[in-house]
Each structure stands twice: as C-alpha cells, then as structure tokens.
C-alpha cells in the first residue's frame, strides 16, 4: 500500500437542497414553490490552507470549474502536508485574470462561463425553473459575475477546519430564498443585484460536520 495519509486529502463540494444532496432536473416541492435546477456551475479558486493567518499551503491548480453535471469535478484532491486550522478560497475569478485574455482548460470560453458581449467571467451560474419566477416557462437564470468596482462579485471565504477530508456544502434552497425569485429571476450582467447575490452565495457555503 502506497496510500499515505497526505494522498488521501480531499475537498468535496456538496450542493444541498432540502437537507439532501441536490439532484439536477428533479422537481422539489417546498411550502411555497416548485423548483427544478438545470445548471449549477461555479469557479472555486485560490484554495489555501492557513494557520494563525499564515498561508501554509495552496492548491497548485488555481481555478477549478465545479459543475454538478460532472460530479467528479466536485471532488478536488490535494497533497498539502502541514497541519492547518482553516481553509480559504474564492468563489469566482480574480480581476487580473478577467482582463488578461483567453485561457484554456477550466477557464476555456467553451465552458459557457465567459460573457461574450462584454468581457468577463461568469463566477457562478444557477439556472432552472421555479413557480415564483414570472419569466416565460417560469425559468430563472442567475449568471453572477463582474470584476470591476462597484460591481465586483468575487467572494472570499474562510472556514475553520483541520480535517484531512473537507466537505463543503452550499444550500441552494436557502440561497434561492435569499435571492427572492419573484423579483430576481434573470440576473445576467454585473450589477448591484449580482453583487448582493454573490454575498448570499458566500454566506450559504458551510462546512459539513460529520
């Protein structure tokens, strides 16, 4: 067995709906709504492990596109050795990368996470249907991005943990309640709405305790 402790370290992201892992294209019935999620994709970037505010280690790969359609993209393996007390990461793509042209792999524009008519990455994409949305066929589309003040949507998150296997969750049901789909069902450009939704996204990311 060559499996050492350090090789087993992982970070896993689990989107949650109604207390259980979110399934795409599945109708959820809540007290006020019927909701179905078709797309959930976002950038998890600049992952660092810290102790006493000092960065001990970071994931070599800087940008990870997590896409619920491809469940393996939600599990990141890493090899950090040190004992840390917190994990730090960003949701989205930093402003320097946003103004530096075309990139490949997770950042390739064919991933559908780049705006075309106005330069910039979409940091977080959530699409589906909700009875609350007044749009055609009750669709909603949240494309959250924007790298320039006053509409900078990049979010930094720090959570206390020293676990070798880190499980993060994002509660999509809570997030949509925070967003309020009756009013905000189509957010597709850098704007005040995008900034406030980006903050809700960060608030709804928690460590899953087991």
């Amino acid at each position: 067995m060559r499996l050492t402790a350090q090789q087993k370290r992982t970070i896993q992201f689990i989107p949650i709906f109604n207390g259980a892992p979110l399934k795409l294209d599945t109708e959820y019935y809540t007290a006020k709504d019927t909701i179905l999620i078709e797309t959930l994709k976002f950038y998890l970037s600049e992952i660092q492990f810290c102790k006493d505010n000092v960065v001990l280690d970071r994931l070599e790969k800087k940008y990870h596109l997590l896409d619920l359609m491809h469940p393996t993209s939600l599990i990141l393996k890493h090899k950090s050795k040190n004992d840390f007390s917190s994990i730090r990461f960003k949701i989205g793509v930093d402003s320097t990368t946003n103004v530096s042209g075309a990139f490949g792999e997770d950042l390739d524009p064919t991933n559908g996470m780049y705006w075309t008519w106005q330069s910039g990455f979409i940091n977080f994409k959530l699409e589906g249907r909700s009875r609350q949305s007044p749009a055609r066929q009750h669709r909603f589309q949240l494309h959250i991005g924007g790298y320039k003040a006053p509409f900078n949507t990049l979010q930094e998150v720090e959570l206390k943990t020293s676990k070798k296997k880190i499980i993060l969750s994002i509660d999509i049901e809570n997030l949509l309640t925070d967003v309020g789909l009756t009013e905000r069902y189509e957010v597709m450009s850098p704007s005040e709405n995008a900034v406030s939704i980006a903050r809700y996204i960060a608030h709804n990311i928690k460590l899953k305790q087991r």
Binding site: G101, A102, F103, G104, P109, T110, Y114, T116, S119, G120
Partner: protein, 338 residues
C-alpha cells in the same frame, strides 16, 4: 529606422518539420510600445496563417454565410463600406458601424463602447451575437474538430490537433496583430523619405491645433473614450460607454477612432452617419451638440474657413496607407480555406 520585435519559437528538435518558426512584427521607432502582451501569445507564422484562414472562413457563423471578413474587408482597411450599420447572418442589421482593424496591439479596450477588455476575447462577441454570426463558441470548436484539415492546421500551429476555444481565439488575435498600418505618406515624411506639400503642411498645423489631443500622432488616436458632440440618433439611442459602466459620466463617450486610412474605411462614426470628410469637418466646426459630457476641447467652437477645411482634409489624406490596404499577406488565403 525600424524596431524589430523578434519572436523565436523553438520547437522540439525531434519533430520532423520546422525546427524554428519565427516571425516579426515591424513598426516604426516613433510608435510607442505596444500594449498587447506578446509574451502570452508568442507570434509564430503557422499560428498567424491559421488565424488568417479562420478570419476569412464563414465556418465561424451559424449558417456558414458570414466570416469576419464579411464585415472587415481588407480593401476597406478591415472596415465595411457598403453599410453604415453592420450586416450579419440572415441579412440582419446591427446597431453599429464595423470599425477598421489595424494597429490593434496598441489598443487597450475594444468596441465603440469599450465592452471588450482584451483582443483575445473580442471574437467571442461577433461569433455569438445573434445579428452578426449567431453561433456559439462551443459549436464552432466542435465544427472545427470535425474537420480533418482544421485538426491538421491546429496541430501544425499548437502541436495539438484538439481544437480549443483558447487556441482558436489566440490564433485569430495573431493574424489581427499583424495588421499594422505604418506606411502612409505621413510615415514617409516622418522617416525623411518624402515631404508634405504646402497645403498638407498647413493642414498638419491645423490638425495639431484642433484634433491631435484626441486623434494623437502617430497612431492618430489616444484610444481613449470621448464625447465629440454628435447629436444622439433617436432611433438607435446608443449611449456608448455608459452601456457598459452605467456611470453617468460615461454617457455618450465613444472610442476615439484612428484617422489613418479614412479614404478606405468610410462611412464614419460609430453609427456610420457621415460618408464624406467634409461632413465630418463641418460637424466639428458647426455641428457640436453640448451634452453635459461633451469633451472640454470641443466646448468652444473650432473656426475654419473653407481653405483651411480643404487643407485639413489634404493632410488627413496623407494618412491613407495604400500599402497596408493592398498587402497580399493580409488578404484572402487563396485555396486554403478547408
């Protein structure tokens, strides 16, 4: 007189084809340093040629009817003269005039309103615009991957036959970066190889007094954004940079175009409202609308008599770069579109 940027791309000696590919872009020493970071997209002949083929290939549009060159023709300094507003797939008319393309390496932001922040991502806009090419970048990449010839060309350029969005976009940039206009009569005068007539000399002085602050030598644009006092077209209601930033101080600011190659790139302005240079000059002398964001240089009227107007136009015509417009290396790659 010429500065030379030399890019050498060492290629693994194991490969049987070229051991070195090299390419240069030439520009005069009185040009400023380019803004484009060539380090992230090192110029190379096979990539430039691939970019050229892509630029002229309608495969980039939904119904294979429109190429980049449909709106950016080499004979119009890569602008479009038949239409004031651009003309896309299924004969749809856009809302803006296709700008001329040259000296792009010196520009920081693109489009009349600056919506695009880097040349490498610019092509995403026309490819996916429903009134331009109406296609998705992911399906363009799929179509190219389905073509044996394109897989070969991408392999030659990138040592990887798998077409990616990144490689497609960067190849398009490579070709466009080679579109350098620096061989006009003005350039010859600058280089001591020609001289202005008296009329042109007089026009040059008027230009320096009234126009150079925005249309700055030697590129003939500062490539900043400004409001030059055009009255708003009430059908188009185009507010320029405001559309991107939503900040009131940006209302009616448009990208300052270069004045090189004006005889080839008509009509003029973001909506192509003028077809003649006399109309443009008359706008600056008599047509300025005083919006709150009007540029300070244009607050007090520019006064020119009719001789002076003619002199100014005579100078502007020295900025035509015929060599650039008829450069064979920029034109349709004969027999090469797969």
């Amino acid at each position: 007189m010429k500065q030379r940027l030399l890019f050498l791309l060492p290629v693994l000696a194991l490969l049987s084809f070229s051991i070195y590919s090299s390419n240069t872009i030439d520009y005069p020493d009185y040009f400023p340093n380019p803004y484009y970071n060539f380090g992230n997209n090192v110029l190379d002949t096979t990539k430039i040629e691939l970019g050229r083929i892509l630029f002229y290939d309608p495969i980039l549009s939904k119904d294979s009817s429109i190429s980049c060159a449909s709106c950016h023709s080499p004979y119009n300094a890569f602008a479009h003269t038949d239409h004031d507003l651009s003309h896309g797939i299924r004969d749809q008319i856009g809302t803006r005039n296709a700008p001329a393309l040259f000296n792009l390496a010196w520009q920081k932001e693109f489009m009349w309103d600056g919506a695009i922040n880097h040349l490498d991502v610019q092509a995403l806009a026309p490819i996916s615009h429903p009134k331009e090419m109406g296609e998705e970048i992911s399906s363009v990449v799929r179509k190219l991957n389905d073509s044996k010839e394109y897989r070969r060309l991408f392999y030659l350029a990138y040592r990887d036959s798998m077409v990616t969005g990144e490689h497609l976009l960067k190849a398009l940039s490579q070709f466009q970066l080679t579109l350098i206009s620096a061989q006009s009569k003005y350039d010859e005068v600058k280089q001591g190889r020609s001289s202005f007539s008296n009329q042109e000399k007089n026009g040059y002085q008027l230009f320096q007094k009234h126009c150079n602050s925005c249309h700055r030598e030697p590129l003939f644009s500062s490539y900043e954004f400004s409001n030059n006092g055009l009255p708003v077209d009430t059908n188009l209601l185009d507010f320029g940079k405001w559309q991107v930033s939503k900040q009131s101080q940006d209302s009616l600011l448009f990208k300052i175009p270069s004045l090189r190659n004006l005889s080839y790139s008509l009509p003029y302005m973001h909506d192509g409202r003028f077809r003649r240079l006399t109309e443009v000059i008359n706008h600056y002398t008599n047509g300025i609308t005083k919006h709150p964001t009007l540029a300070k240089e244009l607050q007090s009227p520019i006064v020119l008599n009719s001789n002076e107007k003619n002199d100014l136009i005579a100078f502007l015509l020295t900025l035509n770069d015929k060599k650039f417009v008829f450069e064979p290396k920029h034109q349709f790659p004969k027999n090469k579109i797969p």
